[in-house]
């Protein structure tokens, strides 16, 4: 709705400007206005059509037609002419993108087969269309009277233009539908190869046509030389530009997007002025960069994602504005007939190509559907002919444009249908997954009576991964920590879970003492945890802990290797306990696909240097294909660490690190909560009873409830919170007896000295605050509860609280903040959130505090208590949008999709960036 309102405002502004009168003094009257209006309006229209499952490109064309000089006249004829300035750059850019999509390495042995298939398809289609065209020439609305060589030349151009395909459209549809498989790969390679051939044929035909019509100079050898220059020179020019551009990216690497557009302008201009085929040069440049400069290719693709959308949107609008509906309707029948004949011969050609190529039959059945679309290159050809041969060239352009309109509409729908039929879209047979984590999703314990009870992990991450595993199947490898875990597994230490509906395998790994304590309590929790959190606890690094950490990680890797067997399933590694699994697994299985999510912060380089084995840790992480952090800050810190500690090659723009002959993508994917589950709890009629139970259990008599929910950890800032409460009570004594702060503090890692000391300290402080501010007969100031609560009880408590406090001294994310927001569908309650928690990066409508500034913290609590209902509602509404938009399932699937897309990268990655959003 907002988008349509915005479009209405833009239209109103355009009308207003038109009424005021366009007064620009230069010849380029209102070019920028036309460009801006085209960009904005087409983006909105494309997005609107996408909701009806129509391609965005169709929306751009439709918008161009509607506002163009022949219908709405909001973009006047002179403005439309100015839009054509972009056409040259855009067609060159499209050709360059086409070159970037053809990775010879990735296509490997199939390339020869695909080339045979392409050649045969083109041969049949060209021959067939030429024969039909020759016979039906008098009825074609081009130049009915033409005969002999003139007719032959015109026909050659017409056939080449009509047969040409659209790499951009085809790639866009593949990306749009999320298709993956041999059909999409083959068709994309085919259209690029075919258009490469068509570019050469077009140059040859243009030269021949110039000779026939006497518009070119020279004869015989001269013409051949010019042709060689046009084709060979274009390829050489393209190769040089590609190499230079790759060098520029490698050694300068600044403002690549702008330089890319400038390069396209140069290719277009130099090509046109020096009689070099600019599109051929652009394809050659793209091919060079993709295949000879792999590292730079990634950077360039990032630049394409950034720079291409506006140019391409304007290009398609420009095409739309040039469509004369009256002329198109007059020529419509011929265009329909031409499209039908083209389609028939393409289908025939694909059939013949299948026999020659030896490609799988499934590809042949639907490959033709991907060869229907036409767009930029075809339009570029037609526009070149119209410019050089006004008269019949214009007629030819009109016919081609009319048939493109048909192909634009039909092509994407047909191709999508073909991909669906080939099982490459929305394939509901998700590939299995291997998850490796320290903690298991289901624990088996024995109760006092000796019965075995199963307990599912309740943490948000465990729930999300469990849901993913239920859907995809596979194996989850984890340390068996339950007292009855060994009793329920089979001889291979496996069992199927979940108990109520077994859908994947849980493989338990047994880690004996003292190795487990050294690996988990020692290196992970006394070393890495304080290293990564900026708090006043010194990390402890002991060589025996490090040895245990290495040993356990190697064991997890060996288990993953065994479970993978012959499968190519991706491996998802969970958290900082498993930093060395990937290198150990890669030693056993070099082609393994692994992603690791690092849940806690990543330290800045100076702090990282505390760790004696930092280089091993960073190198170990770089053995993954994908590393995901919670926050951008952590991602950046890691990139710096890779560069400083290992001298690894860091590509900032694409966020990739090259080290040891491998490339690792580093991303930030903030985790969310199970929003729907919390919503269901919040709407449960039993919630009121649970709230009553909790009031009784916790002795909540006060009218005003504050809440803190934490695992007892020195990073959570609980002493600071108690200090702030103390200061609040000093500042506002009227709250004594009227307000109770419920602190849920679940002990963890109590066997570690630092944790035990902190637990004792919190107990002392709670007692002190209560003693200091107690009111006889009134409610206690702090209610301290150390027993864990079930998720439902927590939601009940969130709904009771007026204020929820998260005061972490440093935290990767902190899901309590998001759970509180998710639970408050009444849009009430105030979240007081530490700026040092990762959640503060997203929930900026919370009351943000610095836990180290106790006075300001107390003032923030006071402000939260006094906050009006309207302000609470506005803040909560804003935060709920954020939390609802990023739940834990998005998080898990984002990481896995990121991992999987690395293998389909060359084709999808090239266009996905702009397709996903606007083109």
């Amino acid at each position: 709705m907002r988008r349509l309102l915005a479009l209405a405002l833009a239209v109103a502004a355009m009308v207003w400007v038109r009424d005021l009168g366009i007064r620009a003094t230069a010849g380029s009257a209102a070019t920028a206005l036309a460009l801006g209006f085209a960009l904005m309006g087409a983006s909105v229209t494309g997005d609107a059509l996408r909701r009806f499952r129509l391609p965005r490109v169709t929306g751009y064309l439709v918008f161009g037609v509607i506002v163009g000089p022949y219908v709405g006249n909001l973009i006047t004829e002179s403005m439309a002419a100015q839009l054509q300035v972009v056409t040259g750059i855009a067609t060159t850019l499209i050709a360059l993108i086409a070159g970037l999509t053809l990775s010879i390495e990735r296509l490997g042995s199939r390339l020869a087969a695909i080339a045979r298939m392409t050649g045969t398809t083109l041969g049949v289609a060209i021959a067939g269309l030429a024969a039909v065209g020759w016979m039906l020439w008098p009825w074609l609305p081009i130049a009915a009277e033409a005969a002999g060589f003139e007719r032959l030349a015109m026909l050659a151009l017409l056939v080449i233009i009509v047969v040409s395909f659209s790499p951009t459209m085809t790639a866009a549809i593949v990306a749009d539908s999320g298709a993956r498989g041999p059909l999409s790969d083959t068709v994309l390679a085919m259209v690029v190869l075919a258009d490469l051939a068509m570019l050469v044929l077009f140059s040859v035909s243009m030269q021949a046509t110039r000779v026939v019509f006497g518009t070119g100079d020279g004869q015989g050898a001269e013409v051949l030389a010019r042709l060689a220059w046009e084709i060979g020179g274009a390829v050489a020019f393209g190769v040089i530009v590609g190499v230079l551009f790759a060098l520029y990216m490698r050694y300068i690497g600044r403002e690549i997007t702008l330089v890319l557009l400038a390069v396209c302008a140069v290719l277009s201009q130099v090509g046109t002025t020096q009689q070099l085929e600019p599109l051929l040069a652009a394809v050659a440049a793209g091919l060079v960069i993709e295949n000879l400069a792999v590292a730079q290719g990634d950077t360039l693709r990032a630049a394409v994602r950034r720079g291409a959308p506006p140019v391409l949107v304007v290009f398609f609008v420009a095409v739309g504005t040039s469509l004369r509906l009256d002329a198109v309707s007059a020529i419509g029948l011929s265009a329909v007939a031409l499209s039908a004949v083209r389609l028939g011969f393409i289908r025939l050609g694909v059939g013949a190509g299948m026999k020659h190529s030896g490609l799988p039959a499934a590809i042949g059945q639907y490959a033709w559907t991907g060869l229907v679309s036409q767009a930029g290159i075809t339009l570029g050809f037609a526009s070149v002919v119209a410019t050089e041969f006004p008269g019949w060239g214009n007629q030819l352009q009109l016919l081609v444009v009319a048939s493109i309109a048909i192909h634009e509409l039909v092509g994407p729908i047909l191709f999508r249908h073909g991909l669906v039929q080939a099982g490459e879209v929305d394939a509901h047979v998700p590939s299995p997954l291997v998850v490796v984590s320290n903690r298991e999703p289901y624990l088996h314990n024995q109760d006092e009576e000796g019965r075995i009870v199963v307990k599912a992990a309740t943490g948000g991450v465990a729930v999300a991964l469990d849901a993913l595993m239920r859907e995809r199947g596979g194996v989850w490898i984890a340390h068996g920590a339950g007292s009855a875990d060994r009793l329920v597994v089979d001889a291979n230490d496996k069992l199927r879970v979940p108990p109520e509906n077994p859908s994947y395998v849980l493989r338990r790994l047994w880690i004996e003492e003292p190795t487990f304590s050294a690996y988990y309590g020692g290196f992970a929790n006394e070393g890495l945890w304080p290293l990564c959190h900026v708090v006043d606890v010194r990390p402890k690094f002991r060589s025996e802990d490090w040895a245990a950490y290495q040993d356990v990680n190697a064991r997890f890797a060996a288990a993953a290797h065994a479970e993978l067997g012959s499968s190519e399933a991706p491996v998802f590694l969970q958290d900082y306990h498993l930093a060395l699994v990937a290198p150990a697994l890669r030693a056993l299985r070099p082609a393994a696909r692994t992603a690791l999510f690092w849940h806690i912060p990543w330290p800045y380089p100076d702090r990282l240097r505390i760790c004696p084995w930092r280089r091993e840790i960073v190198a170990g992480l770089l053995a993954n294909d994908l590393i995901a952090f919670q926050l951008e800050r952590d991602r950046r810190n890691f990139l710096m660490a890779a560069e400083e500690e290992l001298n690894a090659e860091v590509e900032i723009e694409s966020s990739r690190v090259r080290f040891g002959g491998r490339s690792t993508t580093v991303v930030s994917v903030p985790i969310g909560v199970d929003y729907d589950r919390i919503q269901n709890f919040a709407a449960d009629p039993a919630l009121a009873d649970e709230q009553r139970r909790l009031r009784d259990l916790l002795d909540l008599r006060a009218g005003l409830i504050g809440l803190g929910v934490d695992r007892l950890d020195y990073t959570k800032g609980i002493p600071e919170r108690l200090d702030a409460l103390d200061a609040l009570m000093e500042r506002r004594p009227e709250l004594r007896g009227r307000m109770t702060f419920v602190q849920i503090g679940v002990p963890s890692r109590s066997d570690l000295e630092s944790y035990a000391a902190m637990e004792a300290e919190i107990g002392r402080r709670v007692a002190a605050v209560n003693a200091k501010h107690a009111v006889p007969g009134g409610a206690p100031v702090v209610c301290y509860h150390t027993t864990p609560l079930a998720a439902f009880s927590l939601v009940a408590l969130y709904r009771l609280a007026h204020v929820c406090v998260v005061s972490s001294l440093h935290d990767g994310m902190n899901l309590v903040a998001k759970e509180f927001v998710a639970a408050r569908d009444d849009e009430r309650g105030v979240l007081v959130l530490s700026a040092l928690a990762g959640a503060a990066q997203e929930l900026d409508s919370a009351v943000i505090i610095n836990p180290y500034d106790v006075e300001a913290f107390a003032a923030a609590l006071s402000r939260a208590i006094d906050m009006t209902g309207d302000e609470q509602m506005a803040r909560m509404r804003a935060m709920r949008k954020v939390v609802a938009g990023r739940n834990v399932f998005n998080w898990a699937s984002d990481i896995l999709q990121g991992l999987e897309s690395l293998w389909t990268k060359p084709l999808l990655y090239a266009v996905r960036g702009w397709e996903e959003t606007s083109v």
């Binding site: 907002r2 988008r3 309102l5 915005a6 479009l7 405002l9 833009a10 109103a12 502004a13 207003w16 400007v17 005021l20 009168g21 366009i22 007064r23 620009a24 003094t25 230069a26 010849g27 380029s28 009257a29 209102a30 070019t31 920028a32 206005l33 036309a34 460009l35 801006g36 209006f37 960009l39 904005m40 983006s43 909105v44 100015q82 300035v85 403002e255 997007t257 702008l258 994602r305 950034r306 959308p309 506006p310 949107v313 900026d844 960036g913 702009w914 996903e916 959003t917 606007s918």
Partner: protein
């Protein structure tokens, strides 16, 4: 007077108060139609259509930064106004005197050229600082705030030149501002609903093109249009502000290069223009030094004692304003552009030989 090599290096770097302005202007002259003709009339006519967008983008940057209040800004703003007014008056008065002695008649109202020259001379800013929290000297802050007055005053002046009457000019500015606000609101609506960074970029570019395009189509000040839109986005919310700011900052250097090259290429190297340019440079130096002294007197030690020396380097906005006038008014304003380009090069050279002694307070 001691020449310091560091000044050379400083004058070639990019910052809020420095850029290789003179070098780029000279390059523009060299590659323009009066030079080797690489930027031929045909090429310039294409680049000219981008100029209003570049100018609007500069205006947007100023507008986005306008709301960031810093400690002591009242004094800085007072200093900026005093310095700007003093420079504008000295240059306008001097130019009027020189013109009356050299040119018998012009096609413009007699007061407009000196006034426009005064406004061009009154700015010393190259680029508004992208990050409001970035530390800057008092002199840099004065330069930042000092650009507001000329942009605001320049809008009606250009419109008056176009319309031939001040009242009609004011009406036109009001109408153009209305259209700009409507477009800025449309941009705000889109940017708050963008599905990703790429879409944000498309919308941000679209709305910049529209703002620049509207001012171009109505022949009003693109700098003022950009300023109006920038201020709107500054107060409309964080998301549009950050999206627009990010994308404008991404292209700021190329845009500045474009503005300076095009301005240089449009310069007519006639003896009269060169003379006027020399006079402009001399008057600007005198006005800036006098303005700096007055500002120091008025606000005390909050600004450096050699404030005028800090502001001698004329920056980009003066050239941008003159280019804006040419774009809006047509070739009638080319004498202004030539005078400002030559004067800017001269002022840069003077600034190079008269560097400030301290970094300011």
């Amino acid at each position: 007077m001691r020449f310091r090599p560091a000044s050379w290096r400083g004058s070639l770097g990019w910052s809020a108060t420095s850029a290789p302005v003179a070098l780029l202007l000279l390059s523009g002259i060299a590659v323009g139609p009066q030079g080797i003709n690489l930027l031929s009339e045909a090429v310039l006519s294409v680049l000219d259509s981008v100029v209003p967008v570049a100018l609007a983008a500069l205006g947007v940057l100023v507008g986005l930064g306008a709301g960031h209040h810093r400690a002591g800004d009242r004094y800085m703003f007072a200093a900026a106004c005093l310095e700007t007014a003093a420079t504008a008056i000295v240059v306008a008065g001097g130019t009027a005197f020189v013109l009356s002695a050299t040119i018998a008649s012009t096609s413009w109202p007699v007061w407009t050229l000196p006034l426009a020259a005064g406004l061009c001379a009154a700015t010393s800013l190259t680029l508004p600082t992208g990050n409001p929290l970035e530390p800057r000297t008092a002199a840099a802050r004065v330069a930042e705030l000092g650009v507001l007055l000329p942009i605001v005053a320049g809008g009606p002046l250009i419109a008056s030149l176009r319309e031939g009457a001040p009242a009609a000019g004011l009406i036109l500015v009001a109408q153009a501002s209305g259209v700009t606000l409507v477009l800025a609101a449309a941009g705000w609506l889109l940017l708050t609903r963008a599905s990703g960074e790429t879409e944000e970029r498309v919308f941000a570019i679209a709305v910049l093109l529209l703002v620049g395009g509207v001012t171009d189509a109505l022949s009003v000040s693109a700098l003022l249009g950009g300023l109006v839109a920038g201020v709107f986005w500054r107060y409309a919310g964080r998301l549009p502000r950050e999206a627009v700011s990010r994308d404008v900052l991404f292209v700021q250097h190329p845009l500045l290069v474009l503005v300076l090259l095009v301005a240089g290429a449009h310069t007519d190297l006639l003896p009269l223009s060169l003379g006027l340019g020399g006079a402009y440079a001399a008057l600007r130096v005198a006005g800036t030094l006098a303005g700096g002294l007055m500002a120091r007197q008025a606000v005390g030690a909050r600004v450096p004692s050699d404030l005028g020396l800090h502001l001698l380097s004329p920056g980009v906005f003066g050239v941008a304003f003159a280019l804006n006038a040419v774009r809006a008014v047509g070739s009638d304003a080319s004498i202004l552009l030539t005078m400002v380009v030559i004067g800017t090069i001269g002022s840069e050279l003077v600034a190079l030989f008269l560097p400030p002694q301290g970094a300011g307070t």
